[in-house]
Symmetry: C2
Subunit: 172 residues, 2 copies
């Protein structure tokens, strides 16, 4: 593997004597707490996952990391994402036939509202729905452990576009 890269990731401590910039929880700690060995690959992945956009695929992570550390492999990304998912650091959402989407789970719980036309994703949370879900589970004697609520529709912008299209067709 190419170890020559002088790059040092922002939130990964280079020495053991901490005191870098704030850095919430250092990646090293997270990895150690999982009982795993600290490797540059895992630090890289963590860095990307925590600082990147809200939703990403394994491919996204791979492509971002590979720019810095060209010798990382798919397998490592998938493996570690899986580990993070199992440990609930990351939420994995697999819908449709498309690649799994992940997100760093430290933020508040939320569900998704996705636009069928443009793919835009809006996050929302609704206490009342959550409560009702609990209620439903309880009614059947289930202990609720998780849920997936994904709403699909057409966003305001795309609705507008569709109206314009229809107008155009009518005046043809």
């Amino acid at each position: 593997m190419d170890k020559s890269s002088p790059l040092q990731l922002p939130t990964s401590n280079s020495g053991t004597t901490g005191r870098t910039r704030k850095a919430s929880v250092p990646g090293k700690k997270i990895i150690r707490d999982l009982g795993l060995k600290v490797t540059t690959q895992r630090l890289d992945i963590l860095e990307v996952v925590r600082s990147g956009p809200n939703h990403f695929t394994a491919q996204d992570v791979f492509e971002t990391v590979v720019k810095r550390s060209p010798d990382i492999g798919f397998a490592t990304v998938y493996r570690f994402l899986r580990t993070l998912t199992d440990a609930s650091f990351v939420t994995e959402i697999r819908m449709g036939g498309m690649p799994a989407r992940y997100e760093w789970a430290a933020k508040d719980h939320h569900d998704h509202l996705t636009c069928n036309s443009c793919g835009k994703i809006v996050e929302f949370e609704n206490e009342e729905i959550e409560r009702l879900q609990e209620k439903v589970a309880l009614r059947f004697g289930f202990l609720l452990t998780s849920h997936v609520l994904e709403l699909y529709g057409v966003c305001p912008e795309c609705r507008q576009k569709k109206v314009s299209q229809a107008d155009a067709e009518n005046s043809r």
Copy 2:
């Protein structure tokens, strides 16, 4: 293809002069209304899909049909299931990395409560949750077209089992 099978499926009309047993909507009509040619494969698939268990995979359908008409292919099952899904006769649910589950959609809308341990699926419907979903979509200006709500938990039986296990371990 082997056309020698004397088997005639229960709900598929052999002649054009109807009057078989009740048979809600004849399969032929459904297929014709879709603008497709009526083939024995499609009739077979429809028959299985409509008379079988609530939830099934493409594989399930294939395996059931293949017993009667050994020369059917995967492709045909997948193709027709896709068609039925597009036409909203069938609902396709793809969760996790597992094969897609399908169900005949003519029944009332419902969501699912799945047991993590034994895989049991309970169907439920909750008007209030549906209403709230609409409300959420509206708040963001979306026109809601569909949703996926899947609850996961541990069913009563499996909860019981887990308690027993824990007891056993404690007394070791």
